[in-house]
Symmetry: C2
Subunit: 483 residues, 2 copies
């Protein structure tokens, strides 16, 4: 398997492939273990297995050890934005049903073991949040954020077959994958150091391509510095309350968010009328975390956007990956086709769709409500601030894209440590995503361990903290040069 | 929502949109209910909900009613090839973990709560079945059969960017969706009445397009009439045993299978050398059901095929949709790209991937082994024969594509009945897929109800049985003209 570059294999040997290129864009680091070394082989049962019970005992042992490992890994889990704090005991009674929402959520197929009634309830909730009428939206619960992006960009391409895809360099990799899959021309836009799209560069590139429609991936919302203005008027009726909501998402690594209003303004300035662009809003990480701020620019279908997707397993917390995709109904009619086999339209990317995920989402949304989410968001933001302050106090360069609760900091110099805490890294930076299950206690545990390790890495000056000013700005960098 | 054609809405009114076109290809029938009428709304909790417990009680009530409906729907379930006979009690302890096999199964990402060791065990099992060495294959567990087809065809396109996609008219609709998504030229091939690809038409169309490489979707295996030759030499060692296996799959509606060897022969005859074609084998429904026959032509990577996909939730039985995709490692290296965020390659269609499905598959494969699957296949084939014979005895036109255990018969004249039994229909035909959970008792119940209903449909000659000869051949049709 020399095709699979691996950094550390189980016997502890290091097998590194690091290609460093002057151009930051081309810097590739491939980490990870070749899992064949830890594969759980499937073997044919012995003829007498049913009698002896050996096999059952073996499998029970494997599962018990696996559960122990999961518990341990779940405990040390900081780098990925998954809320692991959920309790779905009430749903375990449904686990043994083969629930499949084949095809379109709004048209019942003949396969009756589905959960469309839950799915549509969840979709309605999101459509209401983003101000699109029930009879004007279409959507579905996807397998993951990538499927939402693939779907949104595909709609854009079907609406504008000759359109060019514009996306900031910090966009999720699935956006560039979509361009390749769909054979679309793709223009990468620079970012500010915050990770936010550079709208001047965006406009310049639009002006170079005025003859073709624009399909834009926007990492939704706006990067805001006044992060504690979370006073939500709970006494207001729900409809009014929703009007004050905003959705803000983050790019994958830095947790920064693009300014949707500015993007639309630049499109206008470059002479693109509304019938010549399509905006897909990728709310992957924080689409559900950030709506709880007043006076922030809103993500709403009252603005000229085409689709919004969020991940369901991230802030909501769900034992399986899933996402929500909402778009305008008239677009989907262009995309879909009739498939008699299913007695349904074919407007989704996947055919068979997991019917358990909608029930998990429905259960959580119903139980927590907006109020419950708001409390959790506040806690996360408080904890993220605490964490960032503690890092800086300890002399470690760090930045908080405040509303995303993502703390970006100097990449630890030991890959084993990175893996132990499951940090997502890019170049010289790592990030911790403070989710509801990341308590002050867990952050302290991490900090103590980091400081201890750091003392050994930098002992006797044998190594130096990385400069991360190009990622987080000079004022947030604490390398030898900038501190 | 007048964009959503619906046949029956909850108040019982009928709102039919049936466009019948002389050309069979263009006959569209869109069934199904608009689910907004049965949506379970998500509402904001009252301030005192936590005190009163009203909300918990409401939700428990919804879930209890839903469970009752699922039980009922699972009982009346004949048309879709899902084995609903499984017991995963031992795995319920893992339900509350957020298990995510982000990215590539063979490279551990920094996100540690995964099940790659199970996934690779399952993939090894399938690679062994299809005779591809561990260090020569790549694969992953997909969300469904559609993802496998999207992946296989994408590899084909990346290997042959100018290639034309060839697929029989009876291929799964996801194959044609792929062509559209990927902007590939697509040529539809006629089928024989069995549903098998018409290789003469295939060759003729190859000859018309000799200047471009060919990417072929093959519904794997061969349509065989001698279906009880299932004597597997259990005394042989496993390696020898596997050499006698064959995989045969079915097209979606008729359960027929294409003749892989003949497809390869036609490619040769049309002057396509092995470096000018790519074959994706879609084993959606029966890829795991049919390997247990000796002397049948085999699906094996020793033949010039590029990828094989099967569904995991169908014959195996799994509470969530999933599938298995296996391809040659050298192809995937062309497809993948390095994504530092994940510390992994990006060779899968989806990013986040459900980590529970591999554990379900691993558990079942380990428990049943080849022997267990063989017993179930035998039972299904016996029951399918029984069912087809009973239909014909009762004067109902029917056909059994023997090795697929799919019985095709005259479409019932009452859509309510079709929905009650969850039959998949196309034009004038319906099908029942005899899976391990479809017992003789259940088939009898269905037959009795069908005969009772039929007596009323055809009472006083007010309606006539459909002619289905174009679908099943004259000898299997029992309409007024052909009986």
């Amino acid at each position: 398997m020399d095709h699979v570059p691996s950094l550390v294999v189980d016997n502890g040997s290091v097998n590194e492939e690091v290609k460093i290129n002057k151009e930051k864009e081309k810097r590739l680091i491939v980490l990870g273990r070749n899992i064949h070394t830890m594969c759980l082989e499937v073997t044919e049962p012995d003829v007498d297995d049913e009698v002896t019970g050996d096999r059952e005992a073996y499998m029970a042992g494997v599962l018990a050890r696996y559960k122990r490992a999961l518990t341990e890994r779940t405990k040390h889990h900081l780098g990925y934005p998954y809320n692991l704090d959920f309790d779905y005991g009430a749903l375990s009674q449904l686990q043994h049903f083969s629930i499949n929402n084949l095809g379109d959520p709004f048209i019942e197929s003949n396969y009756g073991v589905h959960s469309r009634q839950f799915e549509v309830g969840v979709l309605d909730w999101f459509a209401r949040l983003w101000e699109l009428e029930k009879n004007e939206y279409w959507g579905y619960i996807t397998n993951c954020g990538t499927e939402g992006n693939l779907h949104g960009i595909l709609i854009g391409r079907e609406v504008f077959p000759e359109g060019i895809l514009y996306a900031s360099r910090e966009s999720h990799y699935s956006v560039f994958k979509a361009a390749r899959m769909y054979r679309m021309e793709c223009v990468k836009i620079d970012t500010l150091w915050s990770g936010e799209i550079d709208c001047d560069d965006f406009k310049a590139k639009l002006l170079q391509n005025q003859d073709k429609p624009a399909i834009i991936n926007v990492n939704i919302g706006k990067f805001l510095h006044h992060c504690f203005s979370l006073s939500i008027p709970f006494s207001l009726p729900l409809t009014l309350f929703i009007l004050t909501l905003t959705t803000i998402a983050g790019t994958t690594v830095k947790g920064a968010v693009d300014d949707l209003d500015l993007v639309i303004k630049k499109l206008e300035e470059a002479g693109f009328s509304q019938d010549r662009f399509y905006i897909h809003c990728d709310g992957a990480l924080f689409g559900l975390m950030m709506p709880f701020v007043k006076r922030a620019p809103k993500v709403t279908f009252k603005k000229p956007i085409g689709s919004v997707s969020v991940s369901g397993h991230k802030f909501v917390g769900c034992p399986m990956p899933c996402g929500v995709q909402i778009t305008r109904l008239n677009y989907v009619n262009a995309l879909s086709r009739d498939v008699e086999y299913l007695a349904s339209r074919d407007a989704t990317i996947m055919g068979s769709r997991n019917g358990h995920a909608p029930i998990f989402l429905w259960y959580t949304l119903n139980r927590k409500g907006y109020r419950g989410f708001q409390k959790e968001v506040q806690k996360c933001l408080r904890n993220a601030h605490y964490f960032k302050d503690r890092l800086v106090e300890a002399g470690i360069g760090a930045m908080l894209n405040e509303l995303s609760s993502t703390v970006v900091f100097e990449r630890p110099h030991d890959e084993e440590f990175v893996r132990r805490w499951q940090l997502a890294c890019k170049g010289n930076i790592a990030h911790v995503v403070v989710m509801p299950n990341i308590t002050i206690e867990k952050l302290n545990e991490f900090l103590n361990e980091l400081l201890e390790k750091r003392a050994t890495w930098f002992q006797d000056g044998k190594d130096q903290p990385y400069c991360i000013s190009s990622d987080v700005g000079e004022k947030n960098c604490l390398c030898a040069l900038h501190k």
